[in-house]
Subunit: 183 residues, 4 copies
């Protein structure tokens, strides 16, 4: 029994440790909490005119504290990095390298993050994916030989989730924004 | 035993009957196969330049032949109609009437259609939901006192699903389109 | 502009109000917080031997505080009640009345709750759906002419979600339980 | 332009090629079409008493002809194989190696297959995951040092999807089965 516990203990990271590791991975790939907070501000400000960057940061941090989110991010970035190092088998290597539009597994991982905050996040996600503002644009350009097939979708998903969380936490602020907008 | 079978038989519609009923419901709410085919052409043509309206029609018809799709559409339209007739309890009546942005159940039903064709449909869905071309615009305007809280999302979902199906059925046509576009 | 705000204001319930309304609806349909907490204990105790009913109650209450959960529950129960009152159109009336196995919209609403807590909840959900312990059995028996086509799935989903939340909040307690179980 | 097309052409596999590659991968990991067909028979026969193994094979083959399914399977098996070869970074290497219960990405990929056939597949999936009949048991036992963290879930998902497709294709056979069962 003791051996079993030790074995498991060796690999079972605390959620806090996984969180730290996720932030480090994101930093290594050129993505900061601030970058994602700016995406949230971009996508949510039209509906919440008095939204501040501090609130966005806070909600991104909350999304990034979830174990389900860590798991999706560390798996996606691992696949991106293995692709850069040419370590995947064919045809998967080529598919991820070229961010093939019919692949879809990058979006499956991203949706697993968005889903945690209900259906409201999906419109935000789709919008970010089309417009590609800020850090998403930068990731998409593959500057410096990086493969970000998974990462750009994951970052968009974290931002969309944080925006959805903001709307759900403060429904009355959302309503006022809409009323003013339509007026 | 015979009674049980007869009981079940009384309610278990054939998929063909449900399909006919779904088309009738859509027609009653002002939506034709042609309307949805035009959405598909709109959203998919940039990726498949030689796409024809006939192909779009055919793929919409294929989506509309699925029992899962019938179930989502007849449930959503039922809720729209009951709302028009003021027959839902409060607060649900008010929530659906006003297409409240935090409701999300309309999108949940729509996603159940998009999901049937993989993750590729979600970008199309999000795009149609933002741009609101053709019939979606018309449904959204609530002309004539209609409540289309569910219907506009369901129609967008059928179109997005059909576009995704087109891309999956003919991956090589999608590729050529992209190559030419970038050239 | 003022009219718009007032209009919106009339229907936009606070999340707290929706929560109260959801509890009332559940009570009206014979489901208490305690019933759901017992499902959580049943499904999660094998993995967390020192789990208490108090903790289960607390996590069910947390799931039941989410607006996405309220929306799914009030929509599902509304459809159950309209079916009891014979107020849906055919063929939907018959389909919901008979809890037709190919319908699936009841499960779509339930999954929208489970999804909020990640993929871990789905195994619990499937298990509860097969074994039908406690309140789920009672709802499924349709005692007293009630239609619970949506409600039994929704209750199972809330319990599965709460169990998933427990596991995610206390990963180390889950691990110990597994180690001891295997020893 | 020519270069672009050639580049894309180099990696864009036809769906038929991906299908062949997927079967080869499954065979390499010890899974045959027959193994999965037997899971379908096991899970669906109670609802369709006259179901034959030939029909099961046919429906599994149909599920395995979809590009979305190929993508999920080749990605999951790649991660299993990289784990066996100790080629993932920590902590992901340990998480996949130990099939950690809070990981959930294996189930996310599996659900992307089940989702293609509607909500009906999820109960079958949950049931197979609990009972672990046939090939799933064998994969789960990790005989011979194999890591099948992703593969067992993917195989269960293909079987659950095929069972769901059977039910949807022949609703009247499902109904008769239920009527007889209850009689």
């Amino acid at each position: 029994m003791i051996i079993l516990i030790k074995n498991k203990g060796a690999v079972m990271e605390s959620t806090k440790d996984l969180e730290k590791y996720t932030y480090n991975l994101l930093a290594e790939r050129g993505v900061t909490l601030e970058d994602i907070a700016e995406l949230v501000l971009y996508v949510q400000k039209p509906y919440m005119p008095n939204l501040t960057i501090e609130e966005c940061r806070e909600h991104v941090a909350s999304v990034l504290s979830k174990r389900e989110v860590h798991n999706a991010i560390i798996t996606g970035i691992e696949l991106d990095k293995l692709t850069e190092q040419n370590k995947l088998s064919q045809p998967l290597q080529g598919i991820v390298e070229n961010d093939e539009s019919l692949y879809g597994i990058d979006e499956i991982l991203a949706f697993s993050i968005v889903n945690l905050y209900g259906s409201i996040g999906f419109t935000n996600y789709g919008y970010l994916d089309k417009v590609k503002p800020g850090i998403i644009k930068k990731l998409d350009s593959k500057a410096g030989g990086h493969c970000n097939t998974f990462l750009d979708d994951l970052v968009g998903a974290v931002a969309a989730a944080a925006a959805g969380k903001l709307a759900h936490n403060e429904p009355h602020r959302v309503r006022h924004a809409l009323a003013e907008e339509k007026a």
